[in-house]
Each structure stands twice: as structure tokens, then as C-alpha cells.
Symmetry: D3
Subunit: 251 residues, 6 copies
């Protein structure tokens, strides 16, 4: 399964989030019906070694593996692809230069400068992976600052930027508001819809991080192609807090 | 904080369960209001190395650390205590002989045969830990088979068995029923109440594994001193399944 | 896929061996065409934590996962099954008592005393795993000492011993010969054929450790149901030694 | 506890150093009376995964956790903060550009460009961590080359550079001398006092790496706000070497 | 290097102790001049996976690797030998039965029942390791309880018990005294000298755990063949405590 | 042993490759007769934590340890050297600027800007390591793109670039051909011989990645100073595939 294939079916991708650096936690998530799962190397408590174990756990199912890298760094972008990520989400794409570095790392020559050596990907996706890789992978540029919005059309014009991924928390911060999930403030809605519209105009996919299934569905209704709902660490915190509260309620 | 201290306040202990072998998952759990958390070395995906990281994470809070060992084995019982467990739950105590081996491993001479060397416990609980250890720790004998129920009074008569811990799944299996959480079948209720009554008769604490806050409260109402509700792995599975279902509902 | 299913197709199982404690090494092995792979917790450099990562890697394919445990110890046998092993090979079954302890740990009541809690197996094989588990798993008793051969029929008569697994190295040692792979000495051949014949007489499966595809095929010809050929660590050592020798040859 | 709070008490911070990538080693250190402990991701044998385990161990006490990152890289600076570091020491700040990249990564908008997602910090320091974070954290720019000294005032003028941290070894190297702990050579003393004076002039904190309690106290006497003395790896090497020497002395 | 070889030079072995589960900590220790180093799987924060990394670190030098196992368990004793331990210290040998199980696990047939498969030992000590192994390894039975002292001659008469290892802490506990390093109480001295004398009478080696080079030298003077002084965890604790105290002294 | 010393003997270096993140796999490789082994942090499934364990395993033998870093990043280059690498292979040196950053990170002042703190190297190579380090280490610039070939003489003119390392796969890709091991196409041969000739002209060493001992020998014949043949992951895949094929052949 791949993102391209799901989109080919005219469906939005339901993406889950992985912040716990453990293969078993990822494997549990992979059995719950998500279309894709994202290993978060940026804000998750995850590094490359853990990511490999998590990607392996995801590969026990048909869920599409995505990695969010910590920064615009060709080394870790390529390592994530070699380890089997079919999508890469890159934070803080704030300039055309950022976008070019990211796009260049995502694809083999002549489209880009990805270095050859798809060690785990070659085993998982087959001996012809390298030939298909440029078509198979998706690069998501995170648009999450006022500065990025200011040069959005230029970023979107960079070949190899396949999609935008909106991070509402950072976007809110740089717009002078408190970090927030599922924002409804007009300023935020306007920014979100603007990014979505420009992405569509450039024929790029659009994705957004949300905090609930309801908001996610609303975003799909607006035209988003991928929505993220929840994470392993949040499910633990919420489930436990609710169980404790229910027990404490009357005892 | 210790189990003894909580019981001294005439409260039942609310215990959470840890099956994911990761310190960060445990640390999240430790911030949700549990009285104690149990690192499950038996059915959890956890070994000693992971247990140490999980116990360390629990020690960042006041939550009481408990370990369930995989089997009646003095080596791992003592290693768990040395690593800082204040309670040990031992599965499948099916005979007086099992009970004696377990009890012997829990305490220093002259009460038992625990070997001296409380390496992490000494740092965590202070230089006088060893002197206080025999009073500080609690040994839970799992009563979870028909065979164990048959010799229950003899098991309870073993000095150093401080408490029983009922495992309803295995108890159901050996009573010829399907494994089940939160059983209400008369045969099961009778067995549970019998074990509770005999424990109280012998002046021992009683604990039980449950699947919901509601059932747990009912058990506290009956007189149980510690109830387990939920686990990190279940919270992930349930939270994710619910989020996916909510999203799929209308889309 | 399961051993039972392969045997239902009247084929011998080709088993590979895993001694390197790393999921990626296991994943490479899992893509080479083996019917099953055995995680070796006895002589491999592998403990339970590594085994979970290796079993996860195997689960990315249809290869059947087997675990060889370090010793006749119910704790690790049950942990291996809970982690998803469909077969368990237990070393040094030298007495009926050993055989009973092993068999008891392999199956749920009423056939045995396996404790309920199939944490990873439940996710991998489905919610009905526990119901099917007693039929799904295979227990291999290693017959590898003169002493075991002396009580072979009694061991084979123990319900729940599903198969024998011959370890030629230890068998040779206890018969007063040097440890050897692929033995052809009449004493060894006689012992091997005797064990095979008695297993078949008791309607049990027979398996053997070999050092080459040729010997393995010969053993299948004799009637063995599972043959092990090679291991990840040997493939590295042999491949590297050959490459170095080829380079050094003329330079 | 935080560095700011200690300084608010008009005390110098006594900092220990962690080079061994193990949580238990860090936990031992955390119980010895240090004000703060620094996880060394640069020259220590430590990566991010180990750092998380070490920071967790520190959080079992009131010791302030600091991280030295390997290089001026926003990805790892932000990951360290998200993991709970309250101070970050950044090596080789040799230019205003370096200083700006570092300072920008340390704080949320509008003061900087730190990305939002304080996953572990949020659990450890509370739900309001993000609001307080810009005040809570301290960024130490390592001044350790001749080149840095040459542009020192410009570096110190960068908002968000909260403190300097002197690395005497590298400073000595770039001044044409041998690397040395606790230097007393006039050239070194002059450089150290110059850096201290300029930091104070800019109203910034000053810190220095030392090799002994005596030298550290001397530096506090000069006005340094944080002094580092010793490391886990050195304590092992020195303690062992002394024990062996004492034993070999007469035997 | 091996213990046998050192003893052949008529020297006592100076042994260091490893409780921190990290290869780098062990490697530092291995460069300080010890004759041997013991990986402590009993009271150390160490499991098998860590032990392999620690034994590998020791193998970068000529120091002799020893393992203390957690309990009289053939599985872990054999795994330790396969991983390259040349000595095994087994705790709590309190009966002839314990001694026989231990001794049996230490050597290949016909002297014992060690299972063949010296995976790491074969690479480290050469292809002929298995032939030499029975002569190369040393089994230390810990004599550390009153009960053991009561059957000491019977334990010492078990072939394959090569040496005794006195644990003063546990011995003190079972003799009704506080756990103590470097005991001088007449009751303890008498017990120690008795064990030493009986070992020598049976032509076995004698070893003892000490807390200082001075006491260790005294024990060598009495005739002990191996003395343990200090551990990595203690060197950290002591070194750090002294540095902090020195700093706090006048500041 | 060091690369410089081998070259001083007028021999080419036979280098093996490590892509499996496990110390035991590396230790097996280290016993097969290679002159050097390269830990691949770029395309191997390896991060810094694994690299330390692998370098430790290599240090149990006389094999020279090399690290290929993921990208031109001073942080990981210096961490690799501190961890004991005597050679560093840096991918994608495509400009003089890349070459300068790489060269600067490899050596201490005054030749470069390597930061002082050779933590593991100091234990492994001795207290005088830092003094000898600039002479001891070798920096290999990977020349693997058309762009790099275009500025080859400028790259080779950078002091501190000690050698070139040809990556035929990426070179082929950027020359418009399929990635390939052991290329014989005239375009590739011309490029390879050109790079070799220019390196020799600048008095630099030349190295190349090959897929077979035969091709490697041919390259040594042409004048290459280091040739890489095979990797741990390939040896597993090939050995296993051959064993399976041999077994399947007739059965």
C-alpha cells in the first residue's frame, strides 16, 4: 500500500502518530485501522534506532509508513527513506531554500540528489524499489510559520514538494496566538484555508494535524488529502486519566 | 510512598499496568494519578532491562512501583526488589512449595533468604533501605488456578505471603470457562469471594485484576485492598480504535 | 502460515536459524525463502528483548516464527508463546519430568497450565488466537543426550510433546564422540534413525539440525518433517571468509 | 528546581558531567549532591536515545538537567528541550551567525523559532510548561576558540544567548597550547578573565569546565555562575586506577 | 589470559566488579590494570543483553572475563559461558544439590552436561575452544550462608566445583549480624578462615569480596587466590561524593 | 594497526562493510581477515549508539575501524573520531565548500577545527592519542556525482582531504545510468580511472566500493589503495538464498 494508491482511490488518508520509541506500541497502533502511521522523529521521543524498530512493526501490516524528520537535514531524510518510509514530513519549511534542500533529498537523480543504498526499503518493497522510488514516495513540507505563508507560492513551485502539511500549533504561535489543536479562530481558519487553496492551485496534496476525529472529518470535507488524529502517547494519557477519574469518582 | 502507607490510610490502592517496554510510556502513565504501577514481566512485552528503565520512570513521581515476575524464580524476584520494586506479584502460586520459594525470596534473613545487594533500591530509598526492606515490601501470591484454590489455606498460612492477587482469566480457564475480565458468572463470583474471605481470615491483603473502573470499585466495595484497572497497551488499542471508528463513521 | 499447515501440505519444513540479536538481520533472513525461522535464545546471542524485535521482523513476512528457549523453564516458554512463537524448541529434554514441565507450559487448560495473556500473539494472529492456540503451536523436545535416548519412549508418550528435535552436536558428545554437524558415523546414524523411528511410532513429528542443504535433503528423504540449515551468524562468517580468501588468493 | 532559581539564591551552580550512556550511572550521580548534571551529547558516548534515559534518571531527583548538544543544529537543540533539558550548552559558537542559530532554537516565538511540541517536558514540568519555557531555559554558548574570542562582544549581544561556557581544552588548542584542564598559564588566565568580564558586561552568566573542586572554587571566586567538576567516566577511571595501585603497591 | 594461567604464575587475581549495564563503562574499567572483571548479573543492574556488550568491551583487553549469574540456573550459566565468560560465580550454593547443578552446567560431557554451542567463545578464543573449555573455565561456588557452611565439605567434594567465593554481606546476615564489607568481627573472621581452610584442604581455590585494597591484600596474605575490590558504580558514587564535598567545603 | 601503517607496507587495504547494527555481527566480521571494517552510518541500518557497540567489537581485534558518516556534518564526524574511528568516509563531497567542512572536522587545530574530547579513542589508543590524532586519521571524500567530478581538482587541493572514495552506484546515477556494482561500461571506467589519476596526481589515496573480490583485485591492480568487498547484510542474504535454493533444488 502507498499514499499514492490510496489517493488514487479518491480517499483521504487517515494518519496516526507515533511518539513512543517502541516497536510493540507501534505494532498495536498498526492493527487499529489507520491508513498510515507517522514515526515522529521531531517532537516524539524517537531517534533513528527506534524508528527502524517502529517501521519494522508497521511493516507487519499494510499500513503506510511515514516519518517526520527533526529538521531539514539530508542525512536523516535519506536514512528514513532507506529504512522504508514512503512519506517524509519535514518541519519548518520556511523558505524556498529549505524547500529545495528537502525536495533534493527525497528523489534519486535526475530529479534530485538522494544517495543510492535503499537497504531496508529494498528488502521490504522488492528488488525494483529503486526504480520505482521517485514515484512511490511523498514529500510533505510543513507550512507552520507566518514566514512560510509569506513565501508559500514560491515553496509550492519547487518541484519535488509533493504536499503541504499544516502544523496548527506553530502556525498559531507565529501568528501571535497560543498553540492550539483544532483551532476555530477566524485568523487560523483563514490561514488554513489559504494554505489549502494555494496547495490545490499548485496541484499539490494538503495535510493537517488535528486533535479529534470530528475536526479531521471537517478538514477532509474542506478538501484535505491526509489528516492526522491522535497519537500513541495521547491515547495512553487520555485513557489512563479517564480510568483513574472514573475510579476516583465515587470511591 | 509505599503500599503499606496507603493501606495505613485505610484506602484501597488503585493500580495501573505496564506492558510496553519503554520508560517514556511508563512515565506518561505515572503522571495520571495511579497509586501504584505494575511492570509486567510475565505477559507484558517486558524483560529486566526494560523493567529498570520503567521503574526509573516511575521513580520520577510518588507512584509505588510493583513488578509482576514471569515465574516463581528467586533470581528475578530478587533482581526486581534490588531494582526498586516495593511489591512483587508472583504468578501461579499453586502449592505450598511455590509459596515458600516465593516468600523466601522476598525477605532478608532471618525471615527469608533474599540475597543482600539492593543496588538501585539503596540509592532510591536511602542508605537505610536494607534495614527497612522486610517491612517495606509486599509479596502478592497469584491465586489463579483451581489447584491453588484447593490448597488456599495452606498457601495463606505461609509466613511472608502478604497478599493474594486474583487473576480472573486463568482462574476461569482452570474452572472450565472462557478467559474473561470482570466476570459475573456465579462460579467465578463464588471463587473470588472465597479467596477474598480466606485471605481476610488469615489477615492477608487481597488484590484483583479488573477490566474497568466500575468493576474495580465493586471489588473495593467487597473488601479488596488493591485493584488493577487498565494498561498502557490497552489504552493505546482502545483509544486508537475509537478514534478510527469515529473518523470512519461518516466519511 | 503455521507448521501444521505446511505439514498438512505433506511438505517438510525448511527452517533457518537466528543467532544475531537484531531485527534487521532477521528481516533479511525472512526474505530468503525459508518456511520457518528459529530465534535461538539458547546458544544464540539473544535474549527475550531481542527475540521480540526478531519475531516482529519475521512477522513482516509469512515465515513461521519458532523460538528455542534456553532451558526447560515455564517462564520463558510462555513468554515466547505470548510474543508470537508458533513453535518452541526446548533443549535437553532428558527425562519424563522434563517433558512434562515443557508440555504443560505449551498449552492452556485443560491440556496444560499455560497462563493466559497472549499479548503480542493476540494482535498478530487475531482476537481468536487463544481459542486456537493449543492447536496452533508445536512443542519440539530436543533429544540430544544418551540419557534422553534411554527413556525416549517414555518422553514420547507424554501428551503435548508434539515433536522431537535432534541436536547432533550434544548427542555426539554424550555418545563419546566429538561434536559434529552432519554426522555419518554409524553410531550417530543409528541413533538418529532410532529417534526418528520411535517418534514416527508415537505419531510425533521429527526434526533435525543440519549443516548443509545436502544433508538436510537426505534427512527429509529419511522422513524428517523439519530440517534446519544454516544460520545468520554462519552465513556472515562463511561469506566473509570466502570473500577475504578470494581476494588474498592472488594479490 | 531550575538554574534561574539557584542563581536567584545568589549561589553558583555546581554541575556534574555525564559521559556514560546509561540511566543507572546517571541516577547514581544524581544522588551525590550536584545542583545540575549535564548529559554530554558531544564528547560523551551518548546519543539522543541514551539522553532520554539519562534525563529520566535525573528527574527522579531535584537536580537540574542540562544537555550539551554535539553541534549548532536546531534539530537536536529542540529535541533536547522537548526531552526536558532546562539548559543547553552549545559547542563552538564561533560567529554571530552561530549564536543566532543557537538562540533562535532555544525559544518559542516571538523570541525565537523553537517548534512547539514539548512532549516529555510537558509531563515533567506541568501543563503550563510551554508558557513558562522561554523564561525557564538557559542557553550557554561555548566560547572555546580564538576566533570566538575575537567576536565575543558581537556574540554576547545576540538576544537569547543567556550565558557563556568556557571550554579550556579547545581554547588552549586554538591559542597554540596543549589541551589542558585547570590552566594557570597567563595566556589562558587572561583569556578566561576576559571572557568572564565581557559576559558580565553584557549581563550574561558565565560558566567554565574544570578538572577539580579547588579550581572550580577559585573560578566561583572570580565570579563564575556555574562550574563543572568531574564526570562519571572520570570517577570510574580514577577510582579504579587508585584501587588497583593501592593493591599493587605492596603485593 | 585466563585465571588458570595467572594462578600458574603464583599470583593472586585482582578482580574488579561491573554493575553498570554499559559497554563503555566496562571498557574504561578494563583499561585500569585489573586481572579480571566480573559482570554482575545478580545484584548489578545487568541482564544478559548488557552482559554481552560488557564482555565484548572486556575482550578489547587481556583482562579475564567472569560472570556472576543471578541464580543456580543452567540456562544462564551456559549462556554466560557461550558468551565468553572464563569464570562463573554462582550465588547461594547452599546444598550439595545446588553444587551439582552448578558444576554440571559448567562442563561438557563426560565431566558435565553443558550443551554444545559456544557461539561467541568460539570466535574469541578460537576454533579449538570447545576442546579446551573444560580446562579453561573456573566455577566459583558462593559460600555465603550459615547453611552452606554447615555442609561445606560436602559441597567442596563435588567434582567441578573449582573454587569458593565468599560473600561477606550475606554470610553476616545469616550469622545474625548486619551486612558488612571488610568484616573484622571474630565470628566473621573465624567463618572466613574456616571456609578458606576447608577449600585449601579440598585443593580448591578461594576467593572473597572486599571493600578496599587494604583488606584485599590482607586476604591475599591469608591465602586467598582471588580478591574483588570496588565496582564501577561505587567508584562513581565515591568520586562524585568526594568532589561535591570538596567543593561545598568552603564555598 | 592503522591505515597509514598498512599503506606504509605498500599493501592495499581490504575493507569489509557493516550495515547490521549489532556488535556480535561486527565481531564475527572482525575475525575473518579484513584489514579494516567500515561502520556504515549512511545507508546501513546504523546510528551512533549502534556504531559505538560495533567499534567496540572491532577493537577486540587488530582490524582498523572506519566510519562512513551520513552526511557532511561536523557533529557526527567528530563523534565518530571520538568513538575511535581511524578513518572517516564522508558521502557526497560535491564542492570545495563540502570538502573544507569535512577536512576541518577531521583534525585538531591548527590544521582544523576538531573539538577536543577523544573519550573512547583516548582509552583505546592511549593517553597520547590526541597528540598523534592528526597523523593517525584518514579522511575519505566520496566522489560520487558528476558535479563532484567537475570540480575534482579543486576538491583534491583542499588540505586535509587525504583520499577519495568512489561510490559507483551514485556516480552511475548522476551519469545517467542505472546504479551498479562493479561497472565495466566505458563511461564508468573512464570516470573511475580519471578520479584515480587525479587523486594520484594530488598525492592522495584512492578507494572504491566493489561487489566482488575479483573486481576489487582488478582495482588494486589499477592502483587503488583501499577496496571494499561485501557486507555483513549481503553475506546473510546471499548465504541464505544459496542454502534455500540448494535445498529446494531437488526436494
Amino acid at each position: 500500500m502507498s499514499l499514492t494508491k490510496i489517493w488514487g482511490e479518491n480517499r483521504a488518508v487517515l494518519n496516526g502518530w507515533l511518539a513512543i520509541p517502541d516497536g510493540f506500541a507501534s505494532e498495536i497502533m498498526a492493527h487499529q485501522g489507520w491508513d498510515s502511521l507517522t514515526v515522529d522523529l521531531q517532537h516524539g521521543v524517537v531517534d533513528y534506532g527506534a524508528a527502524v524498530r517502529m517501521l519494522t512493526a508497521i511493516s507487519t501490516t499494510d499500513v503506510v509508513p511515514i516519518v517526520r524528520v527533526p529538521w531539514v537535514d539530508p542525512g536523516i531524510i535519506m536514512k528514513s527513506l532507506d529504512a522504508g518510509a514512503l512519506g517524509v514530513i519535514c518541519p519548518m519549511i520556511n523558505s524556498v531554500e529549505d524547500a529545495k534542500v528537502f525536495a533534493n533529498a527525497m528523489r534519486y537523480a535526475p530529479q534530485g540528489g538522494r544517495s543510492y543504498g535503499p537497504i531496508r526499503a529494498g528488502f521490504v518493497y522488492g528488488a525494483d524499489y529503486a526504480k520505482r522510488a521517485n514515484d512511490l514516495v511523498t514529500g510533505f513540507a510543513m507550512i507552520e510559520t507566518k514566514r512560510a505563508v509569506g513565501v508559500l507560492d514560491d515553496i509550492l513551485a519547487v518541484p519535488g514538494i509533493d504536499a503541504v502539511y499544516i502544523g496548527p500549533n506553530d502556525l498559531a504561535l507565529t501568528l501571535g496566538m497560543a498553540p492550539q489543536f483544532d483551532p476555530t479562530h477566524p485568523t487560523m481558519m483563514e490561514a488554513i484555508e489559504h494554505i489549502l487553496a494555494r496547495a490545490k492551485h499548485h496541484n499539490k496534496r494538503a495535510a493537517i494535524h488535528t486533535g479529534s476525529a470530528g475536526y479531521a472529518k471537517m478538514m477532509v470535507g474542506k478538501g484535505f488529502d491526509l489528516v492526522t488524529v491522535g497519537s500513541d502517547s495521547r491515547f495512553i494519557a487520555q485513557g489512563a486519566a479517564e480510568a483513574v477519574a472514573a475510579f476516583r469518582a465515587t470511591t
